[in-house]
C-alpha cells in the first residue's frame, strides 16, 4: 500500500469509528464519556504513522485517534466502550483511559496534563535501558495552563531527553478561549527559549504532519533534545459527547465551515482520487466499514465482566 493510501486508511478508520459511536451512543449502551476526535484525525494519524512501531505514545482522554491508528484494531476498542469483559482493559478503563501497551499506547488519562511527566519518565527509562524507542506525548492546549506541563518540559530539557511533545491545539478548554487562559501570544515562542527544538503548523494535511513528525523524530534523536510540535485543528463536536454545539454561543458555525473546507479526510481522499486511486479508496472504505460493523456486533454480544473482577488488578 502506498503511504498516501495507508494514511487514508487510518484517517478513515478513525473517522468512521467515530461516526459509528455517534450513531450508537443514543442507544445508551456505550456508558462512558466520549471525547471525539472529529477534525483532529490528521494529527493522530500523521504522527503515529511516522513514528510507528518504534514509538511509545502517551495521550489524553481524547485518544480514539491514537488508539485506532496505532492498533488498527476495533474489537477490543468497541468492547471497552461497551464496558465488556473482552475490552482492551476488560471494561475498567472505558473511553478515557484506553491503553494498548503491545502497540505502544502506554498511557492516556482523564486528568489534564497527567501523562506528560509519565512520558518524560519513559524517555528516561528508554535512555537508561537503551531500548531505542521514540517517545511521543500528546496533550491539548489546556494542558499548557497546568504547572505540570512546565515542570515536565523543563525536566526533559534539563535531562536532554529526545522525545516529542505535541500540543493539539483546538483553541478551547473545554469552552474557554485561549485569550482567557494564556498570558502569552504564542507558546512556541516561549518554549523556543528552552533548550529544545520547536515547530508550529496549522495544516490539516496528514502528509504534511507525517513529514513534520518524521523530521521531529529524526532531529530529537540526532540532537538528543526534546522537540515541541504545536499543531492545530478544529473540534467539530461538543467537548464531550456526540453532538454539535454551535448553538451554544461560545463559537460559531462559520468557523467550522472554514475549517471543514480543509477537512483532513476529504483532503486526503481528494489527493488519492487525483492520483486515480478511487478504487483503492473505496476498497479501504468498505473494509473499514465492515470491520467496524463486525466489531460493534461482537462488542454488543460480549459478556460484561464478572462481579469478582471488581477486585482484580488492584495489586500486582
Amino acid at each position: 500500500m502506498t503511504l498516501s493510501l495507508a494514511l487514508y486508511q487510518k484517517l478513515y478508520l478513525v473517522r468512521w469509528a467515530t461516526e459509528a459511536i455517534r450513531k450508537e451512543y443514543p442507544n445508551d449502551q456505550i456508558k462512558t464519556p466520549v471525547h471525539l476526535s472529529l477534525g483532529e484525525e490528521a494529527i493522530a494519524v500523521g504522527v503515529c504513522h511516522a513514528i510507528g512501531k518504534n514509538g511509545l505514545f502517551y495521550g489524553t482522554y481524547r485518544n480514539h485517534g491514537l488508539y485506532l491508528s496505532l492498533t488498527l484494531e476495533t474489537d477490543k476498542f468497541f468492547a471497552e466502550l461497551y464496558g465488556k469483559r473482552t475490552g482492551a482493559s476488560g471494561g475498567k478503563a472505558g473511553s478515557m483511559h484506553l491503553t494498548a501497551p503491545e502497540s505502544g499506547l502506554m498511557g492516556t488519562s482523564a486528568v489534564v496534563g497527567t501523562t506528560i511527566p509519565m512520558a518524560v519518565g519513559a524517555a528516561f527509562a528508554n535512555r537508561v535501558r537503551r531500548t531505542d524507542k521514540a517517545i511521543v506525548v500528546f496533550f491539548g492546549d489546556g494542558a499548557l495552563d497546568e504547572g505540570v506541563f512546565w515542570e515536565s518540559f523543563n525536566t526533559a530539557c534539563v535531562l536532554k531527553l529526545p522525545m516529542i511533545f505535541i500540543c493539539e491545539d483546538n483553541g478551547l478548554a473545554p469552552h474557554t478561549l485561549k485569550v482567557d487562559r494564556q498570558g502569552y501570544p504564542a507558546i512556541h515562542k516561549v518554549l523556543e527559549r528552552f533548550n529544545c527544538l520547536t515547530f508550529r503548523n496549522e495544516t490539516t494535511d496528514v502528509e504534511e504532519i507525517h513529514s513534520l513528525a518524521l523530521k521531529a523524530g529524526l532531529l530529537a534523536r540526532e540532537q538528543q533534545l526534546p522537540v515541541f510540535l504545536h499543531l492545530h485543528y478544529y473540534r467539530y463536536l461538543e467537548h464531550v459527547g456526540v453532538n454539535e454545539d454551535f448553538d451554544q454561543g461560545y463559537r460559531t458555525r462559520d468557523e467550522f465551515e472554514k475549517w471543514y473546507k480543509v477537512d483532513p479526510i476529504n483532503l486526503q481522499r481528494k489527493r488519492l482520487v487525483e492520483m486515480n486511486l478511487e478504487k483503492e479508496v473505496s476498497d479501504v472504505e468498505n473494509q473499514v466499514r465492515e470491520q467496524v460493523d463486525r466489531s460493534i456486533a461482537l462488542a454488543k454480544a460480549a459478556p460484561f465482566p464478572d462481579k469478582a473482577d471488581l477486585f482484580k488488578g488492584v495489586w500486582s
Partner: protein
C-alpha cells in the same frame, strides 16, 4: 429542620444558584471563579447567569491551574474578598492539595489568629456513566482529617441553600461537596435567605430500631432502605450528618443510645475514612450500650471501574444497608424483587 411556612419546591441545583445569587447581591466581596464557571453549562447550571448579572470580575473562568487558583483564593480571601472556587470534580482538588493543606488550612493559625480565610471551595462528586477512577472520588475523609478545614456535604435542597449561605459567611475555609445526582432532587426551599449552621447534623428520619448515619447521596439510599424495611415494621432512624467536619457527635450518639445499633453508610472508601471515625467515636461513646458492633458501609477497596457492571458493585446502596440491618437484627432477607432502586438513566443520560 425546615420550619419554613413556604411551600415553594425547587431543585437542589436551583437552590445552589439561588444561594449564590442572594449572597453575591448581598455582599459585593463574594465572587465565583474556577474552570468553566462562566461557560454555557455553568457547572450543572448552578453558576449560569452570574457573570452576566454581576460582571466578569464577580464570576469568571480561569486557566487550568488548580494549584495556583487555590493560592489565588487564599490571597484574595486575606485581602478583603470572599472567594468561591469551583471544581467540576473533586478529583481535581488533588492538584491543589499543597495550597489547601500547607497554606489555606494553616494560614490563620500561623498568623496567631490575626488573619481570617473566608474561602469556599465547591466541588462536585460524581458517579455513573463510566466516570471511572479519575472522576469518581469523594475525598471528604481526607479533607476532614486536616485541622483548619470545614467539610460540608448537603443532601436536600433546603440544606444545600442554607449550608452554602452559612459557608460563604463563615470566616474559615470550607469544602463544600455536592453530589451530582442530588442536583435533580426536589424539595421545599424558602425564597428568603437563611443559614443552616455548619456543624449541625439532623435526624432525617426518625426511627426506633437502628441508626443509620449517612452522608450525601447515601441519605437517599438510606431512605429507600428505610421505606422497604418499614414494610416489615423495622424502624430505621437516619442521621444526615450534613457537615463532616466539624461533626455533630451529639445527634449521632443520642440516636445510637436510643436504638443500640449503628450502621455508617458513607460515600467514600472505608479504610481510614469518615466511617472509621464515626465507628470509633460511637464505639467509644456508647461503650457497653451497643447491641451489635458498628457496621461500616462504603466504596469497595478498589479504584472505581468504568463499566456499569462493576461500578454498581463498587458503590454501596440501599440493598447493602438493608442487608446490614437484617443481619444486625437477625432477620431473614427481605424480598426486594419487586422494588425499584435508583437508576440514573431515569434522571439523565450521558455523557457528563
Amino acid at each position: 429542620m425546615s420550619e419554613s411556612k413556604e411551600s415553594r419546591t425547587i431543585t437542589f441545583q436551583e437552590a445552589i444558584a439561588e444561594a449564590l445569587n442572594q449572597e453575591m447581591a448581598r455582599d459585593e466581596s463574594v465572587f465565583v471563579y474556577g474552570l468553566d464557571v462562566a461557560d454555557h453549562k455553568g457547572i450543572y447550571g448552578t453558576t449560569l447567569g452570574l457573570a452576566k448579572k454581576f460582571g466578569g470580575t464577580r464570576c469568571f473562568s480561569t486557566p487550568l491551574s488548580e494549584e495556583a487558583m487555590m493560592g489565588f483564593g487564599l490571597g484574595a480571601a486575606t485581602n478583603g474578598l470572599r472567594p468561591i472556587n469551583v471544581h467540576i470534580r473533586v478529583d481535581f482538588l488533588l492538584l491543589a492539595m499543597n495550597q489547601l493543606i500547607n497554606m489555606v488550612a494553616t494560614h490563620r493559625y500561623g498568623s496567631n489568629g490575626k488573619t481570617a480565610v473566608p474561602l469556599v471551595i465547591r466541588a462536585a462528586i460524581g458517579r455513573g456513566w463510566g466516570q471511572g477512577y479519575q472522576h469518581s472520588k469523594t475525598l471528604q475523609s481526607i479533607f476532614a482529617h486536616i485541622p483548619g478545614l470545614k467539610v460540608v456535604m448537603p443532601t436536600t435542597p433546603y440544606d444545600v441553600k442554607g449550608l452554602l449561605i452559612a459557608s460563604i459567611r463563615d470566616n474559615n475555609p470550607v469544602i463544600f461537596i455536592e453530589h451530582r445526582w442530588l442536583y435533580f432532587q426536589k424539595g421545599i426551599v424558602p425564597e428568603e435567605s437563611y443559614e443552616v449552621p455548619l456543624g449541625s447534623g439532623k435526624i432525617a428520619k426518625e426511627g426506633a430500631d437502628i441508626t443509620v448515619v449517612a452522608t450525601s447521596w447515601m441519605n437517599v439510599e438510606a431512605l429507600k432502605a428505610q421505606e422497604i424495611l418499614s414494610r416489615r415494621n423495622v424502624s430505621i432512624e437516619i442521621v444526615d450528618v450534613r457537615t463532616v467536619a466539624p461533626l455533630d457527635k451529639d445527634v449521632i450518639i443520642k440516636s445510637v443510645l436510643k436504638t443500640g445499633h449503628c450502621v455508617v453508610a458513607d460515600y467514600d472508601w472505608i479504610n481510614c475514612g469518615f466511617s472509621s471515625e464515626v465507628a470509633a467515636m460511637v464505639s467509644e461513646e456508647c461503650f457497653g450500650r451497643l447491641k451489635s458492633p458498628v457496621t461500616r458501609i462504603g466504596f469497595a477497596p478498589t479504584p472505581c471501574p468504568t463499566t456499569r457492571a462493576l461500578e454498581d458493585e463498587f458503590y454501596p446502596g440501599a440493598v447493602d444497608i438493608i442487608r446490614a440491618v437484617e443481619k444486625k437484627l437477625g432477620l431473614s432477607a427481605t424480598d426486594i424483587s419487586g422494588d425499584d432502586f435508583y437508576s440514573y438513566e431515569n434522571k439523565f443520560r450521558g455523557p457528563f
